[in-house]
Amino acid sequence: MNAESQIAQAMIVCLSAVFTNNILLTYFLGMCPFLGCSREVKTSLGLGFAVIFVLTFTCMLNWVTYHYILLPLGLEFFRFILFIITIAAFVQFVEMVLDRTSPLLYQKLGIFLPLITVNCAILGASLFMVIRDYSFIVTIGYGLGSGIGWLLAIIAMAGIRQKLANERIPRGLQGPGITLIIAGLMALAFIGFTGVLQGK
């Protein structure tokens, strides 16, 4: 495949990761911060951008690790462990650098990094990119798209929850109960995107 068609495919994959194959609402990955940190739009916005950043870069990093270390050595079965290690090290490193070099960026983005190190959406995206045999350029698109999809979902959720904050919700449904129902309804709504795009 030439570079041009690869970029085109990357864009399709990116869009499909945002809507039709939303990592959160279709695969239900990354639920913990999705439920825990979606009380305010502002907070979830920061968290969402952190996820975009980490997803994109760890996908790239793990693509390189997989294709240049694990495959040549015949150690593909170790990818779970190695991906986790790479992600954790990367996140830790970025947090440290941000903290020291840019207080503003650290406050907007850095503080969320430790919260999403062990987010399964991050590892999930890296594993999907291996299963689906994406090229490097397509992987960038996929990581970016997954992150944007996650951001979209958590902002929508936070918006709904903020609206609901002053509503009278039956006592048994308050808190996690109504949140899970909202998540389910949102997932149903996102199914409506199926078929719009034929990305892999």
């Binding site: 305010e40 150690l75 190695l82 830790q92 490193f93 440290m96 903290d99 070099t101 406050q107």
Partner: protein, 366 residues
């Protein structure tokens, strides 16, 4: 086969080690904040290595801030006031702080990173809780199943509110293969800040009481932590009715000492319930309090004294004595201490005598 597994493990481990090494090196360059000084409540200064969360450095220093999520910013329990040096409020904290708290500089200590010198304020009761190493200096038999243990604090003094309790760490011994904590009310004179008296009743098969009765010897070292609890004397002028039997005397004794120390003139009567005369103890000391306090009366009540013992005092259950003798109960404040059964029965009687519920304070020994 074996060789390939071996090689695979070595390769993966070395990749992990390389990344860890990279992190250690970068931590040295980037996350090295040097020594930072934390001033707590203007009283104590702690010097720590910068770079960690405030919560974790405080815990390392044995200042225990409550936290349920382990520092991930999802429970909102680890609040404290950061007066200086904590930087701007972080988005991760915002959902847990209301406007009033924000104005008071309340922060989540798990999200605040120690980068420079800090000045913080934590609730005094959290600040005061710590571990003390003590030496047992005296063991006295009070009755056939109650002893008084006097502990001398070796490394520090303890400040507590009379009525509070400490937890005693029972070490591993023949009767128990794990360390357990048990709570006992402080019975000593609060003016003696390096002495803790505990009045302990032997519980059959109790891990801690068996240890104290059969294994703990004078000169032994033992660890306690505290103080805890909100059982305490109110600062009104209402007359007081103490109701406590057995080892429930411990906090009452402490409060009586405190009343003596502070020349508190409140009228007080102490109903002490027991089954037999042999279960009475520290009567001399109570007589002493009667003499030294302005208006204090010790009223022991014996349920079933032996015929030949000639008990001239009140007979029956402690609740019956209260029912008959406590006049104008609605003006009194009641302080109850002891078994849940006794306390529940007493509360019933006191409410029946017209005492309002908010004037009844109790410490259930469960």
């Amino acid at each position: 086969m074996i060789l390939s597994i071996f090689i695979a493990v070595v390769i993966v481990s070395s990749i992990g080690a390389a990344l860890a090494g990279l992190l250690v090196i970068s931590e040295y360059f980037f996350a090295n904040y040097g020594k930072c000084k934390i001033t707590v409540n203007d009283q104590r200064e702690i010097t720590v290595d910068g770079g960690n969360s405030l919560l974790s450095v405080l815990v390392d220093d044995k200042i225990f801030i409550p936290s349920a999520c382990g520092g991930r910013g999802t429970c909102g329990l680890c609040k404290l006031k950061a007066i200086e040096g904590a930087g701007a409020l972080l988005p991760t904290e915002e959902p847990y702080l209301d406007t009033e708290e924000r104005e008071l500089n309340v922060r989540l200590s798990c999200q605040v990173k120690v980068r420079n010198d800090l000045k913080i304020e934590i609730p005094p009761e959290l600040f005061a809780i710590r571990e003390y190493t003590c030496k047992c200096v005296d063991i006295v038999d009070l009755t056939y199943d109650i002893k008084r243990f006097r502990l001398e604090l070796l490394d520090a003094e303890i400040d507590y509110i009379p009525g509070q309790y400490v937890q005693l760490l029972t070490p591993v011994y023949q009767g128990s293969d794990e360390e357990v904590y048990r709570a006992y009310s402080i019975a000593s004179d609060p003016n003696q800040k390096n002495i803790i008296d505990l009045i302990i009743r032997l519980v059959p098969n109790g891990i801690c009481t068996t240890y104290c009765f059969n294994y703990l010897k004078v000169e032994d070292q033992i660890k306690i932590n505290g103080p805890y609890g909100d059982f305490r004397l109110s600062d009104t002028d209402a007359p007081i009715a103490f109701i406590a039997g057995g080892s429930g005397m411990a906090p009452v004794r402490c409060i009586l000492h405190h009343m003596k120390n502070t020349a508190n003139n409140r009228k007080a009567i102490y109903y002490f319930g027991a089954n037999k005369i042999k279960e009475l103890f520290l009567v001399d000391e109570m007589k002493m309090f009667e003499a030294q306090l302005n208006d204090f009366q010790f009223a022991p009540v014996i349920a079933t004294p032996e015929e030949e013992e000639n008990w001239s005092g009140q007979r029956g259950l402690v609740t019956e004595a209260v029912q008959q003798n406590l006049k104008n109960a609605s003006q009194y404040e009641a302080y109850l201490c002891g078994s849940p059964g006794m306390i529940d029965a007493s509360i019933k009687v006191l409410l029946g005598l017209g005492m309002s519920e908010e004037k009844i304070f109790y410490d259930k020994f469960e």
